[in-house]
Symmetry: C2
Subunit: 409 residues, 2 copies
């Protein structure tokens, strides 16, 4: 393997998570530990957009010798470098775009490209790889580092960021379960959880059940068709058993024709300005329960808190997010390119291995049918046992003045 010496760039892309900065910290750590190959590490501000306008932060200068600052970075939610949602053109359709990119790489002697993100980011890695492999006079190595709370990336057992979101969801729903148990009046609480196409996040709400703790009565994922009639029947059955019914539902549940559960209210309701009312799935189901059952009902949308609650990071997630990124740098230095670093379970532990990007980008990994019960209104023990190791361990977050300390670039 030929040794390649030069600068590296790293970018963060797509939606924020509680662990994406831990992954960034891992790339920084990996680069500092491989100075023989990586002379300097630049951070692209706002992902590929920052690269195009040559807007970099010298991460080597900022973090070299500052272990404590690196720890603070790892505990900071959202993307410290900023993010973007830019989709790259196809190499065959816009060679000029890539020629411009290469000229920037040449200008800064950039030989390593690390991109942290989900599906769209892996698409960026795949396209850049395709261009470079199509004959280019600039040798460089390109590696994607996974990140998404949705846990829907193909080619990896799970994704960094998911474990912390799952821990937040399981903890919060557990607290909501306690909160709802205090009154004796029949009441339904519907918790709406992120994940338009994959139900991994919503499934995490069921974790307390693995330990015979109070958990949602029913859990609805987008992977199986959602029936409003069946939902009302389920809620009625739950109310017969106890007065405090808690439901977890994915924002993306839809009927067999693909119509979202929230769509009815969206198209039927108009606000004071005559706009269509964009209610969420939880709100729509709240109205449905009010209409069909008439009991006390409320909906709680965990919203962006579930992706940015870094104060409740999962120890396992953060350690893996750091580890997979460090492994990415080592793999690149050792000659790997055109890959995403994946995580696989081997026995009880997680191993990191580079996988060819081509088969990964733009594929979605859903919750398999075997992890959802036959009725389609809960997850199976197999599912909970899959999630269980990912939420283990707590991170000792540093507090100052009563608030968690965050890194700000």
């Amino acid at each position: 393997m030929k040794q390649l010496i030069g600068a590296a760039v790293v970018g963060q892309s797509g939606g924020p998570t509680a662990a994406i900065n831990a992954t960034l910290a891992g790339v920084i750590k990996g680069s500092l530990e491989n100075k023989g190959a990586v002379s300097v590490l630049y951070g692209m501000k706002n992902g590929i957009e920052g690269l195009l306008r040559e807007d970099f932060a010298d991460l080597t200068a900022i973090f070299d010798g500052n272990e404590e600052m690196l720890e603070t970075l790892a505990a900071t939610p959202a993307a410290a470098l900023g993010s973007c949602r830019k989709k790259l053109p196809k190499p065959a359709e816009d060679r000029e775009f890539y020629e411009n990119l290469i000229s920037i790489f040449k200008k800064y002697d950039i030989r390593y490209f690390f991109y942290i993100g989900g599906n769209d980011s892996m698409d960026t890695v795949a396209k850049l790889t395709e261009y470079l492999q199509g004959g280019c006079d600039w040798e460089m190595r390109v590696i994607g580092v996974p990140k998404t709370i949705d846990n829907d990336l193909a080619g990896t057992d799970h994704t960094p960021g998911y474990g912390s979101a799952a821990k937040y969801i399981a903890t919060t729903v557990s607290e909501i379960n306690r909160d709802c148990a205090v009154y004796t009046v029949p009441a339904v609480t519907i918790v709406e959880i992120m994940g338009r196409d994959a139900g991994w996040l919503t499934a995490a709400a069921g974790l307390p059940a693995l330990f015979s703790r109070p958990a949602p009565d029913y859990i609805y994922l987008p992977e199986v068709p959602f029936s409003k009639d069946k939902f009302i029947e389920d809620v009625k059955n739950a109310l017969l058993k106890h007065p405090n019914v808690v439901i977890a539902v994915s924002e993306g549940v839809r009927d067999e024709n693909g119509k979202y559960a929230g769509e009815g209210a969206q198209s039927g309701a108009a606000d004071v300005f005559g706009h269509k009312y964009l209610s969420g799935t939880g709100k729509a189901l709240e109205l449905l329960v009010k209409e069909k059952i008439g009991c006390k009902v409320r909906s709680v949308e965990l919203n962006i808190c579930q992706r940015c609650a870094a104060h409740l990071q999962s120890g396992a997630d953060i350690s893996e997010s750091l580890g997979v990124a460090q492994a990415a740098v080592v793999a690149a230095v050792n000659g790997k390119t055109g890959c995403m670093m994946a995580m696989e379970r081997e026995g009880g532990r997680i191993v990191f291995e580079p996988k060819e990007i081509a088969g990964i980008a733009n594929a979605v990994r859903s919750v398999p049918r075997s992890m959802i019960n036959e009725e389609g209104n809960n997850v199976t023990e197999e599912c909970l046992k899959y999630i269980y190791p990912l939420i283990q361990g707590e991170v000792q977050i540093k507090y100052e003045n009563g608030l968690p300390v965050h890194f700000v670039l």
Copy 2:
């Protein structure tokens, strides 16, 4: 002072908080430490309702000698004994009701009555006191122990439960601020916070500003009239300064005629069933920004999470919640009755003192005008310095299987 020996009852009432079980733990601790006077401590299930149906838990039997279980109780959100919202009749209007109560007290030899709650609960304490003082052949001592996330109880510097909610809000809004900072596209995020009549909770969103950390651009409390025109003007001004505008708003903001900001959308929108759409204040302002400014906008309702997120308890709050309850038992044993235990600042520390219940029940303590800026769109440094000590310190929550351990009766 005459020594009174007998059983004690304790109840929890009103909305759940992250600290109300710490207060219960304080009453238990105080009772166990004063066995010479308190022979046994009963917990009323679902507050006064449980008392009326003689549904008790023997807390002395459960917790005596089990310090660890007491710690778990203190870290458990919501009311472990269950809660109720029952309002007592006036003693002059329904003597029979009180005669029945007294007969239950006699039956169980109950000489001490501790009631943990907010305004409605203090009303219960006041009415029972009034009845007892009006000539009754049963001697007993009645003390209210404050609890409310709203911090709106009169006669006390602040209330147990508020500090933990404030810490959760300040932390979460801090995380939301980071989350919103990742993109460069102009966007407005509106965070709706509890507190229909008092803005204390919403004010806590401003805490990061005390340390020059990113904080909401504007904060709107229910104590000053809310103008939608002024709000839009404020948001436009903020967008001129930076693309990521964050707003904190109380659910209870209303215009000078008392019309809630959420009311417009409530009366204008109808759902698929023809129901009036019960949108929240945040949702209504989200629609307003969309209409008047047209930029990307979203609203986040912290909802019941802000009152039950025990995983993020404030160390100061929990220590005070325990302390004020222990002090209540000591005060009762020493002859006090007809009081609420209040918390006062003396120099840098908090002291507990019993205050006559008559002047406290049914009064609301709002955020004073001096703690709100002249424009009415933010809080002052005086306000933040008042809140600051209440969110200090973290509680080392016990985790098992990756989730916080909760006490279940």
